[in-house]
């Protein structure tokens, strides 16, 4: 119990961010037309690629003889970057189609 309280007081700011972000996430999505479900999911998919920052920090802090951290960290950077870059590019490709649709519409 003591540890829980200590954890709570120590990380109070982060816990607040978490709670507020949960509500924000729910509000932001609001009413999305079903046409946009897939691109939105794909865009959100790219955003959680932010986890790559953790991988970069691991790599950047790893000592030269810590092979486990170096190898796993390197792998994590590659995978995380795949998630970020691939995610944003795929989403852009999907939405590019919608753009075309718009220009055809205004013709």
């Amino acid at each position: 119990m003591e540890q829980i309280i200590a954890f709570f007081t120590e990380h109070y700011d982060k816990i607040t961010i978490v709670i507020l972000s949960i509500f924000l996430g729910v509000e932001i999505i609001g009413r999305v037309p079903s046409v946009l479900h897939t691109p939105l999911m794909s865009g959100a998919n790219a955003i959680h690629g932010v986890v790559v920052i953790g991988a970069i920090i691991i790599m950047g802090q790893a000592e030269a003889d810590n092979y486990l951290a170096l190898i796993l960290g390197f792998l994590a950077v590659v995978l995380g970057t795949l998630n970020v870059v691939g995610g944003f590019v795929v989403t852009d490709r999907m939405l590019e189609m919608f753009k075309k649709k718009k220009s055809a519409n205004s013709k």
Binding site: G25, L36, A46, L82
Partner: protein
């Protein structure tokens, strides 16, 4: 932390919020994606150059970092650029799995780091976060890979007897191991940690395995929000605000999106996740019903029927997507229009493999936006339509959804094509669609079947129309 670094993180968090907001409106969606991408780039670059180590010195191992970034960026761009529009869903699933794996690896490294530093002087809270990141990241990774395999057809639907019970036991096992690890039992923490990892991976596999292909978008969306939470665990660990906000935003927005997708299919999330078993039982019961006969129609007759119609509705489905027939479909539409036929498309919200899939495909073939009608609009027009051409769609036009309360898809809104004068159904065979149930529509007197691959059939229709 460095003030510029913190400012970059703040900007990153804001772009994620604004980006997601813009992504949920058709007009601003593309810009929203770019806004989020910009924020992400800024946050990553700032981390590389401005993040201070515990000792205060800047990060090192730049060679490794840039090497990893370059490999990931090149492979990611190529994969994303080359993937066919029809394979989009599995691509998203694969990228999601990469994110999950990244979170999993971070947890492994941090756990070892903790273990070497001695578990005594580290709060249990941090250990809890590491374990959470490990479990959620691993489940998301394993589940996404299975979802990817199932969507591209390399993994078949397989139901393990007592699967639900097994999943429950696995979940309980994961909790027990995690508690033992946290409570500091006498057992070697390494063993406990990797056993947790193994169980989480197994759980991810078994959790996705029995779920049918039609429900896969919902599962991917759910796993997507899992990865978000796993990323947020990393944010907690490194006291990193941008990881925290980005991860949690995706976690909560993703959960809402998952629920909305379920609603579009008129199913509950629970139904999707554990209903895989029940659905098939009902289907076999329904399959024994007397079906009657269906009639076939030739290419020639179909072409004539459509050429002399006033209004033709095209209902695209997954069959059109796998056959890559969107371009020739547009050609058919143009030919008919030249002959003075009014052509429109009726798009069911979940036609294809993912919500919005059909809109993206047809837009790729330059089909004008105003020709794509959503379900509600289309349903108002079928009664004045002469011919409905169904291209590889099945469940979304199945009248059982309205008429048969015992049907697994009962209650799902459908395209009410039977209101039209004639219905031509193009399918490869009489095999049922993804929900695994028969479709009474095919046996109605005004329905004619036109068997064959959607692309081939459409090409033949096009050449037939040119000769008329």
């Amino acid at each position: 932390m460095n003030a510029i670094l913190l400012l970059s993180y703040l900007i990153g968090s804001i772009t994620f919020i604004v980006g997601l907001k813009m992504l949920s409106h058709p007009d601003s969606a593309r810009k929203g994606n770019l806004v989020a991408a910009f924020g992400m780039t800024l946050a990553i670059i700032a981390t590389i150059f401005l993040y201070g180590r515990d000792s205060g010195a800047p990060l090192h191992n730049y060679g490794w970092i840039f090497g990893g970034l370059a490999i990931g960026a090149v492979v990611g761009t190529l994969a994303a650029k080359r993937v066919k529009m029809t394979a989009m869903p599995e691509m998203v699933s694969l990228f999601n799995g990469m994110g999950g794996a990244c979170a999993m690896l971070i947890s492994i490294v941090e756990f070892n780091h903790l273990l070497h530093a001695g578990t005594e002087n580290i709060g249990k809270g941090i250990l809890l976060i590491i374990i959470l990141g490990l479990i959620i990241g691993t489940v998301s990774f394993a589940g996404s890979i299975i979802a990817w395999g199932k969507l591209n057809g390399s993994i078949r639907d397989r139901r393990i007897p007592g699967g639900q019970m097994l999943n429950f036991i696995l979940l309980a096992g994961i909790v027990v191991l995690a508690v033992l690890l946290l409570a500091g039992s006498g057992i070697n923490p390494d063993v406990l940690f990797y056993a947790t990892l193994a169980l989480a991976a197994l759980y991810g596999i078994l959790f996705v395995m029995p779920i049918g292909g039609a429900d896969m978008p919902v599962v991917i969306s759910l796993l997507n929000s899992f990865t978000g939470v796993a990323a947020a665990c990393g944010g907690f660990l490194y006291d990193n605000p941008v990881m925290l906000t980005g991860g949690i935003l995706v976690g909560s927005a993703g959960t809402i999106l998952t629920i909305m997708m379920c609603k579009a299919m008129n199913r509950s999330l629970k139904n999707v996740l554990i209903g895989a078993l029940g659905g098939n039982k009902t289907a076999s019961a329904g399959g024994s019903k007397e079906q009657g006969n269906y009639k076939e129609i030739s290419i020639n007759d179909s072409a004539v029927l459509m050429a002399y119609a006033r209004k033709v509705f095209i209902i695209p489905g997954y069959g059109l997507a796998v056959a890559q027939a969107q371009h020739v479909c547009h050609e058919l539409e143009k030919l008919l229009e030249e002959k003075g036929v009014e052509v429109k498309y009726g798009i069911h919200p979940v036609a294809g493999r993912m919500p919005g899939h059909m809109n993206v495909l047809l837009a790729e073939a330059d089909v004008p936006y105003e020709k794509l009608l959503e379900m509600e609009e289309a349903n108002q027009e079928f009664s004045t339509t002469n011919v409905v051409l169904i291209l590889g769609a099945n469940d979304v036009v199945n009248p059982a959804a309205k008429e048969d309360p015992s049907s697994p898809i009962y209650g799902m809104p459908i395209l009410e094509v039977e209101l039209a004068e004639h219905i031509i159904v193009n399918k490869r065979s009489m095999k049922p669609g993804y929900a695994g149930i028969e479709n009474d529509l095919f046996f109605k007197p005004k329905t004619s079947m036109l068997f064959g691959d959607a692309k081939k059939v459409l090409q033949e229709l096009v050449s037939e129309l040119k000769n008329l």
